[in-house]
């Protein structure tokens, strides 16, 4: 089977397509530094990283799914639903839980399990049932969010087990734990998709799944794995977000998916599959986080923020198009 190994990535100019946002980031850092003296301090930049940690995990998941030629809109609902359900399984009925009396230690494993289950259902419907990924995950987005509203009756869960709050609020070696977690997972994603056979196979599947199948890649199994991994990453994003906010609100994660797609696409990930890198997706998240931070620091009026924000995303898209040289799909 050795002949089937995808060619190892070479350091050619084409590879810098994934780094086209680096000039944008540098530009934002310079502009930000001029606009506000606090911007370039470690404290502020650490805050930006912490604020982007959970959404970055969604971008990581979506980037993998897009690269393998599929789509997942349901990730944003998992961010709220998986922690909500896991918390309800362990907290007493008086605090709004199911009153099952499961130990609080189990809350994070349960949450990841819920995320994996949602990914598995997506995988089943898309791969085994051969349904359109777009519509399946659109329906799942609605269902999964409903599965949060139903049991919680739309209430915010305030009483959380300590283990649920820990990851999103702890500090390890001077940096928030969530930043470390996101960092490690991104490195794992880069190495996995860059140098490992199973990771490289995502590109093969996303580029041409029939050819990938003919070449002996277990397409279905890999795709299924990607969806399950995506669901788990979204659930973990939910854990980090819950720790940061101190409660599971009924709107947690709602509306994130557009930001996730924006970050992935300006970071050079193709909506058609087969192209893009995890590093590129990461730069996309950073751009969005820095823009948000600058808008807040400058106190841009709430009526105009969406305009400025959307406009900057478009400019970033154009810069990455010009710098990348290739037409975007």
């Amino acid at each position: 089977m050795t002949t089937l190994t995808a060619p190892a990535p070479r350091l050619r100019l084409g590879r810098f397509r994934d780094l086209t946002l680096v000039p944008v980031i540098v530009l934002l850092l310079i502009v930000g530094a001029f606009l506000d003296p606090i911007f370039l301090t470690t404290g502020n930049l650490t805050n930006v990283l912490q604020q982007q940690a959970s959404i970055s995990l969604l971008v990581l998941a979506e980037a993998m799914i897009l690269i393998s030629g599929k789509f997942d809109l349901s990730l944003e609902s998992t961010v709220g639903m998986a922690p909500a359900l896991a918390v309800m399984l362990v907290i007493p009925a008086t605090a709004g839980g199911f009153g099952l009396g499961l130990p609080g230690m189990l809350v994070i494993p349960l949450c990841l399990l819920v995320g994996a289950a949602i990914g598995a259902v997506n995988g089943f419907l898309i791969i085994k049932f051969q349904l359109s990924a777009f519509i399946v995950t659109l329906a799942m987005q609605i269902i999964v969010h409903g599965l949060q509203l139903g049991p919680t009756e739309g209430k915010t869960l305030f009483e959380l087990p300590e283990s649920m709050l820990y990851l999103g609020s702890a500090t390890w070696l001077g940096l928030p734990a969530s930043v470390w977690i996101a960092g490690v997972l991104f490195v794992a994603g880069m190495v996995g998709l860059g140098y490992f056979r199973v990771g490289r196979s995502l590109y093969a599947i996303g580029g041409n799944s029939d050819a990938a199948r003919a070449a002996g890649i277990r397409v279905d199994r890999v795709l299924w794995g990607v969806f399950i991994l995506g669901g788990m990453l979204a659930a973990l994003a939910g854990v980090l977000e819950t720790g940061r906010l101190g409660a599971v609100g009924s709107g947690q994660g709602v509306g994130w998916i557009f930001m996730v797609f924006a970050a992935a696409v300006i970071g050079g990930v193709s909506m058609d599959g087969g192209k893009g890198t995890i590093l590129g997706a990461l730069t996309g998240v950073l751009v969005i986080g820095l823009v948000q931070n600058i808008l807040t620091l400058k106190g841009v009026s709430g009526f105009w923020q969406p305009v400025v924000y959307g406009f900057i995303i478009l400019v970033a898209l154009m810069i990455s198009r010009v710098a990348g040289g290739k037409a975007q799909d």
Binding site: Q51, L138, I142, G154, E241, G246, A247, G249, G255
Partner: protein
Amino acid sequence: MKIGPVVAGAALLAVIAACGDSTPTASEGGGGGKIGVDHPRADSDFWNSYMKYVPQMAGELKADLMQATNSQNDVSKLVNNVQALTGQGAKAIIMAPQDTGAIATTLKTLENKKIPVVSVDTRPDKGKVYMVVRADNRAYGTRACEFLGEKLEGKGKVVQLMGALSSINGRDRAEAFGECMKTKFPGITVFNEPTEWEGSKAASMLQTRLEQHPDVKGVYMHAGGVHLAPTLQVLKQKNLLVAPEDPKHIFVVSNDGIPQEFEAIRKGEIDATMSQPADLYAKYAIFYAKAALEGKTFKPGPTDHGSTIIELPNGLEDQLPSPLVTKENVDDPALWGNQVK
């Protein structure tokens, strides 16, 4: 990915989703006619309390309520639901249009059908309403400003975590707070954070602002339900969650009056909240809907329940009282936040 079938499928799904909750079952009973209720959303603590009070109050007032519909914060669903409710024989409608402009045509249709409308919490911009049942949201902003202004002795910096500016309630609170600060406490700098009622944005914006201005001394949150936990979490991480006597203490005023805010006031983590009367909203919405069916009319002026009716171009508005809750009166059993478990 082919876009044609995708769009068709998406449209179908949207239609199904829109129809999902517009099939209420009519309840038996007569006398005065049936009252149709549409709830605005299912994802906020305040509205969930309100939804619980509605059937309870209807029982007390002996009103004939139909099965309530829910428009999930979507004005087009509200329009569909109202059509379904009137089709099933509703003689009066209670609604809470979150988009106060786009409901005008529906109100016009209802007026032609001689179906009176009670609008809860929001004031439709155009179209006839029998009564708007609503707390005075401008008073919320003003009282929060006065409370913070006095605590800060007229100087320093405060952060305002605003709701969505597309909602009249968010706008009223923000404007009144800003105006009051400008006229009464010109020495106080206000930072306005457009959080769109989102906890995630509130946490990021407050964290960034505290990094930029570590000397911020006050916070006004527009909605305790979404802003409370994120604010406390940010303050905790910055080690600023200290007793009111401590000079590092940041004064926090909230809005809504949910039980968790009361708990935080008891612990000294926040200082005050405006109790938005979910119980009175439900009670007087049904009271006025029933009165409309009985052909009663009301005039502007003080009422028998401690509120004032004011005249609007398109109807009347009963501005219900909403008490400021502080450490002194937080255990008052009459507050609705103390009645829910």
